[in-house]
């Protein structure tokens, strides 16, 4: 089994020197999802904000979507690998936030549900050149009752629509935040998360 610890001869001391570990005082960990279709900027977004080198885990699924945690004996052709990128932001001595970049295809539902379970909310990244590719993931979030905000990733050459037209095209509820964002930029990406969490708070107040 390939492993950082074994193959690179890394020890926990070496990892500690790289700032890999959490502060001893951390008591609460929360997660937010960063979702959207292929190549929309999920990995970029997570990498821009993460304080650690972004990490990746892979889950193996059957083509039909069942999670495979028994790897031996499974025919490679009948399985697909779902990669999850994630990063970490320490928000205070006690609180840490994890950002999970998750693929938006419905057939990965089982991996999705596992990772989405307990998430505070999600940021949906969209590309205006292919809006319709974000519909599936938005439907999935609604099904799982995970509140979300939408960020239009500003790709060069992508058409800029007026906000109203975009809201219509994406069929957003009136309260759902819609913003633009550059996943390569720290301030822009942080602001996108701030807008998402402000929305989560307002929503919570209204439902109280």
């Amino acid at each position: 089994m390939a492993s950082v610890l074994a193959s690179d001869g890394l020890t926990s001391d070496g990892l500690a020197a790289d700032g890999v570990y959490l502060r001893d005082t951390v008591r609460t960990a929360v997660k937010l999802l960063v979702v959207g279709p292929f190549a929309v900027g999920k990995t970029t977004f997570v990498g821009t904000l993460s304080e650690i080198r972004p990490l990746r885990t892979e889950e193996t699924m059957t083509q039909a979507g069942a999670l495979v945690d028994d790897l031996a004996g499974v025919d490679g052709k009948s399985t697909t690998t779902v990669a999850l990128d994630f990063g970490r932001l320490t928000l205070s001595d006690e609180l840490v936030l994890y950002l999970f970049g998750a693929p938006g295809q419905q057939r990965f539902t089982r991996v999705w549900k596992d990772i989405a379970y307990g998430a505070l909310g999600a940021l949906v990244l969209v590309d205006t050149r292919r809006l319709e590719q974000s519909f599936e993931v938005m439907g999935l979030l609604e099904e799982l009752r995970i509140p979300y905000a939408v960020a239009v990733n500003t790709f060069d050459g992508a058409p800029a629509f007026p906000g109203d037209e975009l809201r219509d095209a994406l069929d957003l509820l009136p309260g759902t935040p819609l913003m633009s964002c550059d996943a390569r930029d720290v301030t822009s990406s942080t602001q996108a998360l701030v807008t998402l969490v402000e929305y989560l708070l307002t929503r919570n107040q209204e439902n109280a």
Binding site: A2, L22, A29, E58, A66, F100, D114, G118
Partner: protein, 117 residues
């Protein structure tokens, strides 16, 4: 998905987890924080020893442990579940899933993010 049961039947037990596909307790989330509570690792499987060596350095989430060990999260949960039972690790539970996230928590997240702007 229940339609795949016939596929599962063909699958040999995954060596790392000693043949169990699912954690005996379902208390681990991807962001549950894990802390090593024991130095002594004799008698543990090689995979569990690697996990303990990793965790010896400090606290990490389940997802981070999985990534550093190049294991799927699902498999990592099985190993961790055993290590809780044997007293080698302890956890800070992830935020409760059933309760609506409380206002205090969301405010703390918001403050932490705003402080970065």
């Amino acid at each position: 998905m229940s339609g795949d049961r016939h596929l599962r039947g063909l699958v040999r037990p995954y060596v790392v987890t000693g043949g169990r596909a699912h954690a005996s307790r379902n208390t681990f989330d991807a962001v549950t924080v894990v802390i090593a509570t024991r130095e002594q690792v004799s008698g543990l499987s090689p995979e569990k020893k690697r996990l303990m060596e990793l965790c010896r350095g400090g606290a990490l989430s389940v997802a981070e442990i999985a990534a550093h060990l190049s294991l799927p999260i699902s498999v990592t949960k099985v190993l961790l579940s055993d290590l809780v039972d044997s007293g080698h690790i302890a956890t800070h539970a992830a935020v409760s899933h059933t309760a609506r996230p409380d206002m205090k928590l969301l405010k703390d997240v918001l403050d932490g993010l705003r402080a970065r702007l």
